[in-house]
Amino acid sequence: MIRVDDLAVSYDGRRVVSDVAFAVGRGQAFGLVGESGSGKSSVLRAMAGLVRDVRGLITIDGVDVSRLRCGQGARRRLQMVFQDPYGSLHPNHRVERVLGEAVDIAGLDRREERIVDALSAVGLGEAFMRRYPHQMSGGQRQRLAIARALIVEPGAILLDEPTSALDVSVRAEILNLLMRLRRERGIAMVMVSHDLAIVGWFCDQVAVMRNGRIVEVLTPEDLVAGRARAPYTAELIGASRGYRWRV
């Protein structure tokens, strides 16, 4: 179980996130939607320990990790996957080194075995071990980024627009993979996306953010039924139903 309580994030003294609180159980998924600048990515970055000025509580299975550095101790159990896998993988490191380093940094044993397991869990064969990121397609690179998160046995994976750089058919494959990891391994996920259809398909609960705050939390059933209290949520739901020029 991951809990975020009373979270506040600032950059250079400017508050960008206030009063954010939510909990995600084992194998559950929580979605954050909102327009650019609404603070949704800052919440993820704060959870991963990538931002300095953070206040509030971030606990994983009851252990507060908010004072730990990124990747330190229990914080390692929160892993992040970014939008653009090309930008988040070292261009001169082969797949085996990308994954091997993650194992080493986490101080885990059975390096080779873990690498093979992680690759197979994301549907990449051992043949990929010697490849560089640029020798892989966008979808394969995103699978590698997910393998790197998986290899350290995370409690939760934080997904920042994980499919928006991908073609629609590849997007479906990655979403299926993430769903399978939730079910089979009980990994909790927090997903940031601008696409309500994706978040509604993937998550158990969806928080709508505006100006650094959560304005409301909905279930996918609420989204389908168009039950929104905040006007901005109604606008988002309307936009997600697509553009209609001939009514």
Partner: protein
């Protein structure tokens, strides 16, 4: 049959030996809207860039026929196509931050084409509330939605007959995108412009256009009326439609596309 504004037949585009667009054809009349959809590398952008003579230097193009507004052109002679750009065909790109000149104010870039007074009118026409203020702003200080409105104003300055919009809203927030689409809609209808909308989003193209071309690996694999999109026949189009996540299908495994090599040779 109304006379075609654009008539292109048998367009090929190649980088050396590698053919990236093969046998592209389409006809479009004033006021018509055509959507071109496909995934990255399908050739949807290159085929329309060839019409404007805007291919990368290493690319070569040829076609059996190319007429625009009654005159004949040759896609293999890109220099001559410069005459078409602006007043004939205008292009709106995905990201205004890249497409606008960062060292000139938004207004000055538009005024290059039509003068200050008209530029201010156009900025008001595209729904910018303070045209005088936006006129003096540099592109870097504009939001995504404002930047895209400035791009549209600049395109309108030359009064083109055909607008090519290449992923015009992909870089925008969904709610902002709705406003930009409504604006494009209004402008196209009021001026009876023809539109080619290039998008990876089948739903958007279906909602905005009359006809849809689906491209795969450089070829048009299906031509279909937008209203018949849900009844598409080609397995690729069907695959694209089915693999969209829908909230109603919560968590149910999404169908994935198995690509048939034969699609590239049909």
């Amino acid at each position: 049959m109304t006379p075609a504004l654009l008539d292109i037949e048998g367009l090929d585009v190649a980088f050396g030996d590698r053919i990236v667009v093969r046998d592209f054809s389409c006809r479009l009349s004033a006021g018509e809207r055509l959507g071109i959809v496909g995934e990255s590398g399908s050739g949807k952008s290159l085929s329309t860039r060839a019409l404007m003579g805007l291919l990368p230097p290493r690319a070569a193009a040829r076609s059996r026929r190319y007429t625009f507004d009654g005159a004949t052109y040759d896609v293999a002679q890109p220099k001559a196509l410069a005459a078409l750009r602006g007043r004939g065909i205008a292009l709106v790109l995905q990201d205004p931050k890249v497409a606008l000149n960062p060292t000139m104010t938004a207004g000055a870039q538009i005024a290059e084409v039509c003068g200050r007074m008209r530029a201010l009118e156009l900025l008001a026409d595209v729904g910018l509330r303070e045209p005088e203020r936006v006129y003096d702003q540099f592109p870097g200080t504009l939001s995504g939605g404002m930047g895209q409105r400035v791009m549209i104003a600049m395109m309108l300055a030359a009064e083109p007959k055909l607008l090519i919009a290449d992923e015009p809203t992909s870089a925008l927030d969904v709610t902002v995108a709705q406003g930009v689409l409504a604006l494009l809609d209004e402008i196209i209808a009021a001026r009876r412009m023809a539109l080619i909308l290039i998008s990876h989003d089948l739903d958007l193209a279906g909602a905005f256009c009359d006809q849809i071309l689906v491209m795969y690996a450089g070829r048009i694999v299906e031509r279909i009326g937008a209203s018949a999109l849900e009844r598409a026949r080609h397995p690729y189009t069907r695959g694209l439609l089915q693999c969209r996540p829908r909230i109603e299908d919560r968590g149910r495994t999404l169908p994935t596309l198995s690509r048939d090599p034969a699609w590239s040779h049909e």
